[in-house]
Subunit: 104 residues, 2 copies
Amino acid sequence: SRLEETVKKTITENPVVVYSKSWCSYSSEVKSLFKRLGVEPFVIELDALGAQGPQLQKLLERLTGQHTVPNVFIGGKHIGGCSETVKLYHKGELQPLLAEATAK
Amino acid sequence: SRLEETVKKTITENPVVVYSKSWCSYSSEVKSLFKRLGVEPFVIELDALGAQGPQLQKLLERLTGQHTVPNVFIGGKHIGGCSETVKLYHKGELQPLLAEATAK
Ligand SMILES: N[C@@H](CCC(=O)N[C@@H](CS)C(=O)NCC(=O)O)C(=O)O
Ligand SMILES: N[C@@H](CCC(=O)N[C@@H](CS)C(=O)NCC(=O)O)C(=O)O
Ligand code: FES
């Protein structure tokens, strides 16, 4: 579908992508973590897309198995939500992923 | 107003009250913290109230200055959101508040 093509293009062209909701503190946390690590995430606020927001959220569920926000991709790869991202950070595995994704 | 009377009754009659949204992870965190501490919070899910939800959220903002969820009351006193509650917990100040509120 057209929306699916848009998602694939987005996660391929941007090293870090966060599907987010603007009012959501978990989404804020993951966005500010990336910024603290010196990486500007490409952010899509699902609540700013009108009717397309829920559509996109359903599509992401189909593509990733995850129906929640934030939904994080690094280097085109699905990472998970806020907890998964923070877990990788604490294990020291996030920065290598970011370095690799931003190097390309 | 009638809604205001309902809020005042709720926070007076229940030792721990959380105005919450069912899909919100910060709301889940604070609810489960109370349960881990052995206290069952009285929970109002604002998203389950139809049109009254936003009304209630505005009223709470007027009463507490806080427009976000979760909105936490202990012993009838406004505590704050998730961060404030967790901060009190880490300072060792939450349990004394809970003990006092549940003793009445
Ligand atoms: N453990 C997940 C929790 C994700 C989650 O529950 N997200 C909530 C918002 S905080 C959600 O998407 N709720 C459903 C919705 O907003 O559509 C994470 O760390 O990202
Ligand atoms: N620091 C606050 C953050 C509260 C916050 O930003 N809450 C969000 C949801 S996570 C909110 O209420 N957004 C507006 C809304 O949902 O109406 C806390 O710890 O509770
Ligand atoms: S909506 Fe509250 S943490 Fe996501």
